[in-house]
């Protein structure tokens, strides 16, 4: 079932931040970039959670990463964003290898990661949570940051209404909006979303999915989406990758994956 495109060229050097051709972090949108992982091996202590994973996410596309619990989906995102160290393999952001960098460097290079569950800091206000998203920016005029904030408030009205309230007062769907808005403020070229629909009511989940599609179309953002809800994810994705026990067992266009009944039953539960 694998479509086998493995057109990964040699990495073009391992530059320090900024040289990966990323956005200059002064607030200008950075455009999109492709993301690829090549033979990635990572784990926790003695447990290998990713056993040689290769995934390609084309620039501007939505890639769904699917599989059962424990398949390695979250570990994959964590390795890409630098939260855990990859033991082997490469992580290519627009053909620049960023493996081994710290999370602070990786977000500056242009990859924003919205982790599963935790993300909102409830003790801080909505606006303070958002401002954290701009912490990776280089020093610049305050006007730029204010403008960026207003842009997100325009897109996410509920956040604008509550900007000075503690983030603890937000509903589940609003919190998800907040963490996505915060990630967008980092002006990423690649957005990693880990279970964005977790714990959300179906209607809210649909809104989040619509939002993801919008982000991909309007901003050309490359999106990698980890989802338990494979059906919804495949409905909006261009490409799908199925993991099982740390390995890629399927990689194909989302439409093809969605219709492969045997695969769906075996790995995706529907």
């Amino acid at each position: 079932m694998s479509s086998g495109t493995n057109g990964l060229g040699p990495a073009v050097g391992s530059d320090r931040d900024g040289a990966a051709g990323g956005s200059d972090r002064d607030g200008a949108a950075g455009g999109s970039a492709s993301l690829a992982v090549d033979g990635l091996v990572a784990g926790y202590g003695e447990v290998i959670a990713l056993d040689g994973v290769t995934v390609m996410a084309g620039a501007g596309s939505i890639t769904a990463v699917l599989g059962a619990n424990g398949a390695g989906k979250t570990t994959l995102l964590r390795a890409v964003s630098g939260m855990i160290k990859a033991r082997r393999g490469r992580i290519l952001l627009a053909d620049h290898d960023v493996v081994g960098r710290s999370p602070e460097q990786i977000v500056r290079a242009g990859i924003a990661h919205v982790p599963e569950g935790q993300g909102v800091i409830p003790e801080l206000t909505v606006e303070e949570n958002l401002r954290i998203g701009m912490m990776s920016w280089r020093r610049g005029p305050r006007a730029g940051r204010v403008a960026a904030l207003e842009e997100e408030y325009a897109r996410f009205k509920p956040l604008a209404d509550r900007r000075r309230k503690p983030a603890s007062t937000l509903s589940g769907g609003e919190r998800q909006m907040l963490v996505i808005a915060r990630a967008l403020l980092a002006r990423p070229r690649v957005l990693l979303l880990d279970e964005p629909s977790l714990g959300l009511a179906p209607r809210v989940m649909a809104q989040v999915m619509d939002l993801i599609v919008q982000l991909s179309r309007e901003r050309g953002l490359t999106i990698v989406l980890v989802e338990q809800n494979a059906r919804s994810a495949l409905a909006i994705a261009d490409h799908g990758v199925v993991l099982n026990l740390g390995r890629v067992v399927a990689s194909a266009d989302a439409a093809i994956l969605a219709t492969d009944v045997a695969l769906r039953h075996h790995y995706l539960g529907f």
Binding site: P115, G119, L124, E128, R131, I132, M135, S136
Partner: protein, 292 residues
């Protein structure tokens, strides 16, 4: 009635000292869940630096300022050299390291400065102030003590709440993972936190040493009282640290004044045990669970 006033006022003065130590402990605790057992030792060492500078330059204020700067440096240096490597390792490692630092500081002080009690000058007059002939039980220097701690606390509070740097520190303290993923250099934030704690400790040291005299162990008792104040207020709460310090200071002042001054240590420990038993999160902690 006059006695009550005197005990209250002098309790507030000592309470501010405990608040300063409590605040420094809270600063470090919030970011790292570490109790800095060396806090008193750091304060003692910077006070020795102050006294040496004062002797050499004959300027109190030179010593004062240099003590504060030394506090910043000592705090940052401690974090960078011995505390940082304990990150991610069992918590006991960090505890042992800070206790080790305490022993190191007290040993160094003994070697370089000797063990004898030294007197430390006060910035202003220590004669009791009177209002309409009634002795207040506090002096100009005491007023300065309260003002200095309050001013420092206010500056820190404003910085934390209203500046981007402050937001960085709060974010790193509340959720280091989110902070790192947003590009905050959490390591640097921790170093700054320790530096500020060192500053607060240095301030407490120069303010209390005129009363306690200066010797390698002189800040041990103050540390315990500062720690008690922090526990009373809740180790996560800066406001709690200040209130806890005041409550403890005033409370112990009444105990010492109305009962017996030998009882104060006992009562302090009793309060600590009571708080830990009844409301271990302190007075100011919400029933908030910390996300791990």
């Amino acid at each position: 009635m006059v006695e009550f006033l005197q005990f209250t006022l002098s309790g507030i003065v000592f309470g501010m000292i405990y608040s300063a130590i409590a605040l420094s402990l809270v600063l470090i605790w919030r970011g790292t869940r570490l109790l800095n057992f060396a806090q008193g030792g750091m304060a003692m060492l910077t006070t020795y630096v102050a006294i040496e500078v004062i002797y050499k330059t004959h300027s109190y204020w030179a010593g004062f300022v240099i003590a504060l700067v030394a506090g910043l440096i000592l705090g940052a240096a401690s974090e960078l050299t011995v505390v940082r490597p304990t990150a991610g390792k069992p918590e006991l490692n960090a505890v042992i390291v800070t206790i080790g630092l305490l022993i190191l500081f007290e040993g160094l002080a003994g070697i370089f400065f000797g063990g004898q009690y030294r007197s430390f000058p006060a910035a202003f007059s220590v004669t009791g102030l009177r209002v309409n002939g009634t002795p207040l039980g506090v002096s100009r220097f005491d007023v300065f003590t309260v003002a200095a701690v309050l001013a420092t606390t206010l500056i820190l509070a404003v910085t934390f709440r209203y500046t981007t740097a402050g937001l960085r520190m709060r974010a790193a303290a509340f959720n280091a993972t989110v902070a790192r993923l947003s590009g905050i250099r959490v390591g640097r934030v921790l170093t700054v936190g320790w530096a500020l704690a060192g500053l607060l400790g240095a301030l407490a040291g120069v303010l209390v040493s005129p009363s306690t005299f200066l010797y390698p162990n002189s800040m041990d008792a103050i540390f315990v009282l500062g720690f008690t104040a922090a526990v009373i207020g809740g180790l996560d709460s800066p406001a709690g640290a200040v209130v806890g310090g005041l409550l403890l200071g005033v409370g112990l002042s009444y105990v010492g004044g109305y009962l017996n001054s030998d009882l104060t240590s006992l009562v302090a420990l009793g309060v600590l045990v009571l708080v830990l038993m009844i409301r271990p999160n302190g007075l100011f902690a919400g029933a908030r669970m910390r996300r791990v």
